[in-house]
């Protein structure tokens, strides 16, 4: 199986680190890149062409919902999910309307396993 490429978008370094750790424990060969806000994510995604993008919602500059909308158009075949502490129904509905996934924080091994499952199929 070809190694997958994942882009983690979160302004919190510790969140990016935990997400990366949970991915690489399962798949040491996967390419994992990081971005700290929406603008950086879009710029990186162009070259990276990730298979999965995980986005925090509340970030300085462009937030995760806006970035998800742009990435959805840019990368039609990519799996995109919000991974956020913002557990409000309004945020879930926005994710649904954009056709992207929604996963609540805190980041745990189980949640990351669920998020990467489509790439393992």
């Amino acid at each position: 199986m070809k190694p997958s490429t994942v882009l983690i978008v979160d302004d919190s370094r510790v969140s990016r680190m935990l997400t990366r750790q949970h991915i690489q424990v399962r798949h040491a060969d996967w390419i994992v890149e990081e971005a700290a806000n929406g603008e950086e994510a879009i710029a990186k995604a162009k070259n990276l062409q990730p298979d999965l993008v995980l986005l925090d919602v509340n970030m300085p500059g462009m937030g995760g919902v806006e970035a998800a909308a742009a990435l959805r158009t840019m990368l039609p075949g990519c799996h995109i999910s919000l991974l956020t502490a913002n557990v409000q129904a309004a945020t879930r509905q926005r994710a649904e309307a954009l056709g992207v996934g929604f996963m609540e924080k805190p980041i745990t091994a189980e949640r990351i396993a669920q998020l990467i499952a489509p790439l393992e199929a």
Binding site: V14, A85, P106
Partner: protein, 207 residues
């Protein structure tokens, strides 16, 4: 002065209880430990007195590490999470695991505490927004280290009346306790009261 009926007050405590329950469950997932919570206490008092009261209620008399976020939308509130400063490294250690070297852990402490605050406060506020069927927009987390009196003094006029909801939670095995407080001014309380009433009407099948 806005008055809440006994039923409104009871509903308000119940709604915050659910919110803090969500936050405690998130905290328990972060640190992999059981987290216990107190029943919320509500006080109406001047902001300066709220700051003093928080200082007496919060654990110990030493410096604390506080993470605050301001929410607006359905109603406006300042939400604050506080831990004794000397416990913050222990909490971050529980979050990131034993394998991280101490030096790296210290560098990451402030960011990790901000993220814990962000997750806890948002899970609590998110539960409130969902119960009220409204939206609340939060600022990015603000991190302060200092004495608890100082945590409230950076926001607003000391003489203005506020409503303070205070909850204590305890990570029992690690003997760590923290405090969550929500501060609202009177106009926010008016908004909150109307949301509580709509919630009560829905809960009782009237809407």
């Amino acid at each position: 002065m806005i008055r809440l009926t006994e039923l409104e007050l009871d509903a308000l405590v119940e709604v915050f209880n659910i919110g803090v329950g969500q936050a405690a469950s998130a905290m328990s997932e972060i640190v992999n430990e059981t987290v216990a919570m107190s029943v919320p206490s509500i006080s109406f008092l001047p902001r300066a007195a709220a700051a003093k009261l928080l200082a007496t209620k919060s654990t110990g008399s030493g410096r604390i590490c506080g993470i605050s976020q301001r929410y607006s939308g359905a109603f406006q509130t300042d939400a604050i999470l506080m831990f004794p400063e000397e416990k913050s490294r222990q909490i971050v250690r529980l979050m990131v695991g034993e394998s991280m070297p101490l030096e790296e852990l210290s560098q990451m402490e402030q960011e990790a505490m901000s993220e814990i605050g962000n997750i806890l406060l948002n899970s609590c506020v998110g539960a409130l927004a969902n119960i009220f069927e409204r939206e609340l927009n939060g600022s990015l987390p603000d991190y302060h280290v200092g004495y608890s009196e100082e945590m409230l003094s950076h926001s607003g006029d000391g003489a203005s009346m506020v409503l303070m909801l205070h909850i204590e939670f305890v990570i029992e095995r690690q003997q760590i306790s923290g405090d969550v407080a929500f501060i609202m001014d009177m106009s926010a309380l008016e908004d909150l009261k109307s949301h509580v009433n709509s919630y009560l009407a829905r809960a009782m099948g009237g809407a």
